[in-house]
Subunit: 356 residues, 2 copies
C-alpha cells in the first residue's frame, strides 16, 4: 500500500496552513451532522456510563479535524442531555485521529485544542485495513479522504496494457480503459473500507462520509478535481519537454485519486451489505461562497500532492516552487474562464450510513 | 507542566538508538511479568469477546516499548488460552503508546512492528493527568518513566528560599531542603499519577511499574543516577567558568527527576488507597551484565537530557558535542574507579499494583 499524506508541519506549504478551503465542508456539514445525529443515532448503543468512541479517518492535521470532532460531540452531547432530561448524564468521549503512519502526528498532537471535551488518541495506518478492535466505534467520520486510492491501479503503469496512461497523470480525457482501471480500484478500496468498518462499528453506529463526486451522468472529465489534475499533468509534461525530467517519468506517474458518483457509491454500499444508507445528498457547490485566488488553489493542491510528486520525481524545493507558484497557477488561470465557473463544477456527497 | 521528551528521530543522538541499556530492564522483567500475569491477573475483568486494553505510559520511541508490549500480550494470551482450554478464544488487544505531546510519535508510528498482534494508538499527554476514559484499561505499564517530575520544584529556583540550589542541577550533595523540595514534588506527582490511573483502570486491572530507586536507608547521593546528574552539573559549572554561559544559568537549571525508595513508594501507594501492592522487589543490579563504555553512558544520558538542556541553555550542536563527547565522559571516567562499581550502585524496583 502506498502512503502520501498531506504536507506536515506548520510551514507555508503545510496542510495545516493550506486547508481552509476544505473548512467549507466542515462548516456546511455541521447542520447536516446535527440533524443526522438527532434523527439516526440511537444513544442506547452506548449507555452514558460507557465510553463513546469516535474516529476521524484520514484526519491529516488540524484545525479542520478538531472543528469537525467538536461539532459531532456537541450534537451527541445534546442528544444525551435531551434523552436523560435534566440529569444530563453523558458518556466520556474518546476521539481517535487516524491517518497513514507517515502523517505528521507530531504536529497534530501539539496543536490539539487544550480545552477539548474528549480524550484524544492517534491511530496510524491505512483506512483500507482494520484499525480498531471489533465493535468499538460508535461514530466514524471521514471527510474528503476516501477519494484516495490504496494505490495507483497497476494496469495504468503497464506499458503492455490497453489501460497504459501515457502522457497523463490521471484518467481525465484519457482512454476509457484507464478510467475503468481506476473505477475498479475504487470499488475494491471502498469494499475494503466498508468491510473493515463493518467489523469496528457497533450495531446502530453511524458512518459520516464527505466524498468528492461527480454528477451521476456527467463524463468524468467534467469534474473540477480531475480537470485540476489534468492541468497539473499538462504542466508536468511541459516541464519534461524543457528537460527538467524525462517524459517517461510523467508516463509512469499517476495520481491515486478517484471521484465517484452517487449511484456508484450507493451500489458499493449495497453490495457490501452491512450498512443502511440513511442519507446521501449533494453538497451544493453554489453554497460555497469561497472564491480563492488561483495561487490559493495551487497552494492547496501543493499541500495535498507535494509528497507524492516529490517521491516520484525527486524534485527539490526550487522545482516545486516553479511548478506550484508559476506553471500551475498560470495554467489554471488560462484554462478556466473564471474561478466561479470552476467552483460551480464542484460536487461533493454527504453520506450517512448506519451499521445494521 | 514541563515536557522534555527523549530525543526523537533515528539519528546518532536519538533515544531510539541510545536506549539499549534500558533494554536490560525489559528483558529482566519479562519473566516477572509472566509470573505476575499468571498470578494476579483475573481474566474475568475482560471477557474474550471484548477488547483488552494496555497502555505504556512514557513509552518514548521503540524498540523497548514494542518488546515490552509484545511480552505482556504473550503472557496474557497464554493465560486466556489456558483458561479457555483448547477453544483458545482470546480478546483483541488495543495498545496505547503514551508520552508527552512533544514526543516523537512520528518515529514511533513508522517503526511499529508490521506483524504486531494488536491495534495500536498513540496517546499524547502527561501521565500526571487523565489520559483515558473511566474504567477502560486492563493493564498499565510504565518503565523508567515515573522518576520524571511534572516540573522542577519551585523552591529550588527561588533565590530567597532555603531550598535554593545554587551551583548544582540536582539534589545530590545539596542541602537537605533541596532534597525535601524534590521529595515533596515526587509525592504530589505520584499521587496525581495514581489518582488518574485509579479512574482509568478497571477493578482488578494491573499496573506494572519499573522504577529507578535507592535502597531504603541509603543517602540520596549514593545512587548512580544522582551521581551521574551531579557529575553533569559539575561539567556545566566548568563550562560556565570558561565563559560558555553564566554561572547564574546553571543556578537556574535543575533536572526534574527523583529516585524514590521502596518504603517511600509503598507509603505513597497506601496513602492513595486505590491499589493493592501485589509485588515490590528490587531488580538486582548484579544481574545486569551490560558493561557500557563511558561514551555509551554519556550518549544514553544525552538522548534523555539533551532536550531539557538545549531548551534552558540554548546550546548548539557544537556545544552539546563538547559536553557529551568530551567533558561528561571524561568526568565520569575520572569519578568512578570502574564502571562495574558504577553499575553495582544501580537499584530499580519492579512493582505490581492491582486496582481494588
Amino acid at each position: 500500500m502506498e502512503a502520501y499524506p498531506m504536507n506536515g508541519g506548520n510551514g507555508p506549504n503545510s496542510y495545516a496552513n493550506n486547508s481552509f478551503l476544505q473548512r467549507f465542508f466542515v462548516d456546511w456539514s455541521k447542520s447536516m451532522i446535527d440533524e443526522a445525529i438527532a434523527d439516526y443515532l440511537d444513544i442506547q448503543i452506548c449507555p452514558s456510563s460507557n465510553t463513546f468512541r469516535i474516529a476521524d479517518l484520514g484526519c491529516s492535521a488540524g484545525p479542520n479535524t478538531f472543528i469537525a470532532m467538536q461539532n459531532i460531540i456537541e450534537a451527541i452531547d445534546r442528544k444525551y442531555r435531551e434523552f436523560e432530561g435534566l440529569s444530563g448524564s453523558t458518556p466520556e468521549f474518546h476521539v481517535y485521529f487516524n491517518d497513514h503512519a507517515s502523517n505528521d502526528f507530531n504536529t497534530l498532537f501539539v496543536t490539539l485544542p487544550p480545552e477539548k471535551p474528549y480524550f484524544a488518541a492517534g491511530v496510524p495506518g491505512s483506512f483500507h485495513t482494520r484499525l480498531f478492535p471489533k465493535g468499538t466505534l460508535h461514530v466514524v467520520y471521514s471527510s474528503l479522504s476516501i477519494q484516495w486510492l490504496s494505490h495507483v491501479p497497476k494496469e495504468v503503469l503497464d506499458i503492455d496494457s490497453p489501460a497504459y496512461n501515457k502522457g497523463r497523470i490521471h484518467y481525465t480525457n484519457a482512454r476509457q480503459e484507464v478510467f475503468e482501471a481506476y473505477s475498479a480500484q475504487y470499488a475494491k478500496d471502498i469494499e475494503a473500507f466498508l468491510h473493515a468498518r463493518a467489523e469496528e462499528v457497533v450495531c446502530g453506529g453511524l458512518v459520516v462520509l464527505i466524498v468528492p463526486a461527480i454528477p451521476d451522468e456527467s463524463p468524468p472529465s467534467q469534474l473540477h478535481t480531475q480537470s485540476m489534475f489534468d492541468i497539473l499533468g499538462s504542466c508536468l509534461m511541459d516541464m519534461a519537454k524543457t528537460g527538467i525530467m524525462e517524459e517517461a517519468e510523467v508516463d509512469s506517474f499517476n495520481l491515486p485519486a478517484y471521484s465517484t458518483t452517487s449511484r456508484e457509491l450507493k451500489n458499493l454500499v449495497e453490495r457490501n451489505g452491512c450498512f443502511n444508507i440513511e442519507r446521501i445528498v449533494d453538497i451544493l457547490p453554489q453554497e460555497n461562497k469561497m472564491r480563492p485566488s488561483v495561487q490559493t488553489l495551487s497552494d492547496h493542491f501543493r499541500a495535498a500532492l507535494e509528497g507524492v510528486i516529490k517521491s516520484h520525481f525527486g524534485f527539490d524545493e526550487h522545482v516545486l516552487d516553479l511548478l506550484f507558484q508559476h506553471l500551475y497557477p498560470q495554467k489554471i488561470e488560462d484554462t478556466f474562464a473564471s474561478l466561479t465557473t470552476y467552483m460551480e463544477k464542484t460536487t461533493t456527497l454527504f453520506v450517512i450510513l448506519k451499521r445494521k
